[in-house]
């Protein structure tokens, strides 16, 4: 469960570069909600992600995860509760370490790391193998391969698995298919759908791809200029189409459409 209330964030306050990234944002994710977030560049999607993950702290406002106030917690403290997949496929894994070592590090996310206990043990290896099998990419046979030798798609699939197999309270997906070629992006999208529904993860996914935002999740949020300007849930969301979304956007924004259509619908 994730609650954001009255979030304000301004960058470079008091200078000529001042930019209000988020303005009075309220967001409430119930357990098992899968929310997709769309919006043009500079709408505040990334800022929202970084505020939840703890890379940034809000100027005003409160962030609660599982009813725990995490507003002032640092990223590494919060990430006990959060699984995250980055846009860059290289960002979520350590390239010079093996697949099993990467899995072991993700396994330790929810607990205190030990000075004595080995990261990779026999029983964990079995468990990692099982988890990797579910990806269906054959990674389970390459436990000792260095992650740097995997392709971008494989690395992103591994990152997704590493973010989810420890059952995080919140899963953050930060345009995690945007840097992949179409077929790999589809694979990761499918895996995301499968993993999120199997584990009933509370998920927030930012995407530039409107179709993906419609296909995935039970709620959709549209952001613009640091505010949530449109929300659809359940059946209402299911009835949405890309055209309807653009219409909604036009209704609210009107003037800027021509400019944004190019960015949003690619």
């Amino acid at each position: 469960m994730l609650q954001l209330s009255q979030i304000f964030k301004v960058f470079n306050e008091g200078t000529t570069d001042e930019k209000a990234a988020l303005e009075n944002v309220y967001l409430d994710l119930k357990d098992g909600d899968f929310v997709t977030v769309i919006g043009s560049n500079g709408a505040g999607k990334s800022t929202l992600m970084n505020l939840i993950a703890g890379n940034l702290t809000p100027d005003v406002g409160k962030i609660l995860i599982d009813t725990k106030d995490v507003t002032r917690l640092k990223e590494h403290e919060r990430s006990k509760l959060i699984g995250r997949v980055f846009q860059d496929p290289m960002a979520g894994t350590a390239p010079s370490m093996t697949i099993e070592e990467n899995m072991a590090m993700a396994y330790s996310r929810t607990r205190k790391r030990s000075f004595i206990a080995k990261g990779v043990t026999k029983s964990r290896k079995m468990f990692f193998k099982e988890q990797l099998e579910s990806l269906g990419l054959g990674l389970e046979d390459r436990l000792n391969a260095k992650v740097g030798f995997l392709s971008g798609g494989e690395r992103q699939a591994l990152s997704l698995l590493m973010a989810t197999f420890t059952d995080p309270s919140i899963l953050l997906l930060d345009e995690h298919t945007a840097a992949l070629d179409p077929s790999r992006a589809e694979l990761i999208t499918d895996k995301t759908k499968e993993i999120v529904s199997k584990n009933e993860l509370t998920t927030l996914m930012v995407t530039h791809n409107m179709q993906q935002a419609l296909d995935l999740g039970n709620r959709l949020i549209m952001m613009d200029k640091g505010q949530i300007i449109f929300e659809a849930e359940g059946e209402e969301k299911q009835r949405l189409t890309v055209e309807r979304l653009l219409e909604e956007f036009q209704k609210i924004q009107g003037n800027q459409l021509a400019n944004d259509r190019a960015i949003l619908s690619h």
Partner: protein
């Protein structure tokens, strides 16, 4: 000649502990830590002053390790909490340690340990009760070898201690905290999104790294029965030379192999220096220059070899393709050629 080489193997193994420390900071944490020049002497100074004051050499050596750990953690704190650039943090600590080392040594620039009990003499007196040296000497004389080392005890002691440190390093880097330390050097963004405090891991890693360096300094001091406040100058380059030589020869494999490579690199470095110093026109003062040249060589030569290999591969391939597909003439560059 052989005596010199034998000595350089002993010394190389002891310096191998320092090289493992440098491997931890430079390679594992990806942190070019110059504290080493200071913390090596800190180790020697703490051990020497304690031995002179009548403490047990073992306790003195352990205290040296602790002092090195503290020095490294301070460098780590300067960087992680003070947000000071890694190189600058190390240099600041190195400079600060120079004064601190002088203080530890009671403001005298060197302390001799000539008639003191050291960890070496302790092991040596135990070793003398075993018949091993006598056996080796008679073996060497019967084989008619050109030299006989006076004792094998120090070599064995050095091997034992460097292996202990190596195995500790291997084990530590495979623990949950160890994996997180490696990831801190490899992909800090990833490991902090996996709930690891990279600041604390850097401080810990640099602490351990400099604890190794100080241990090496303490043993070198007891080996040579002498500590000098300037003996740390250029130490970081010697450590780096060992790491690079080891990697150049053994490649980059598992941690287990790399730690062996680093130790062997340290021994090879000592041997090269010992051989170089026997060349007529070189003097002891040229040591640092020789070191710099060895490091440059170890960095540049593998790349040149690699380039040459690649060129030859392409050349062979081009010839093969030419045989298979005929010369370039048959390729139509434009339509009019057809």
């Amino acid at each position: 000649m052989f005596t010199a080489l034998f000595g350089s193997v002993e010394l190389g193994l002891i310096y191998g502990i320092m090289a493992l420390g440098v491997y931890l900071s430079f390679r594992v944490l990806n942190f070019p830590d110059l504290t080493v020049d200071g913390s090596f002497v800190t180790g020697g100074a703490v051990a020497a002053i304690m031995i002179v004051s009548g403490y047990s050499p073992i306790l003195a050596t352990l205290a040296a390790v602790g002092a090195g750990f503290i020095a490294g953690s301070i460098t780590g704190t300067l960087h992680a909490k003070g947000k000071i650039n890694p190189l600058l943090s190390g240099i600041l600590m190195m400079i600060a340690l120079y004064s601190i080392n002088l203080r530890i040594m009671g403001n005298s620039p060197n302390i001799p340990l000539m008639r003191e009990d050291t960890i070496m003499t302790m092991f040596q007196s135990f070793w003398a009760t075993l018949p091993f040296d006598g056996l080796m000497t008679s073996l060497f004389t019967t084989l008619n070898l050109p030299f006989t080392p006076s004792t094998w005890g120090i070599l064995l002691f050095a091997i034992m201690i460097v292996i202990v440190v190596k195995l500790f390093t291997d084990f530590f880097l495979s623990t949950e905290v160890g994996l997180a330390i490696r990831a801190t050097g490899d992909n800090p963004r990833m490991i902090s999104s996996l709930s690891a405090n990279t600041d604390r891991l850097k401080i810990l890693g640099l602490g351990i790294s400099n604890a190794f360096v100080a241990l090496s300094g303490a043993i070198v001091t007891q080996y040579s029965s002498f500590v000098d406040v300037n003996m740390g100058i250029g130490m970081i380059i010697i450590g780096l030379a060992s790491v690079i030589i080891g990697e150049a020869i053994f490649g980059k494999g598992s941690i287990f192999k790399i730690t062996i490579a680093v130790i062997v690199g340290a021994v090879i470095y000592r041997m090269v220096v010992a051989l170089a110093l026997r060349v007529g026109f070189l003097e002891t003062g040229d040591m640092k220059l020789i070191t710099a040249i060895i490091v440059i060589g170890a960095l540049v030569v593998p790349r040149l070899l690699e380039n040459g290999k690649e060129r030859r591969r392409k050349y062979r391939k081009a010839r093969k393709i030419k045989e298979q597909y005929g010369g370039e003439k048959s390729v139509a560059a434009t339509k009019s050629d057809l």
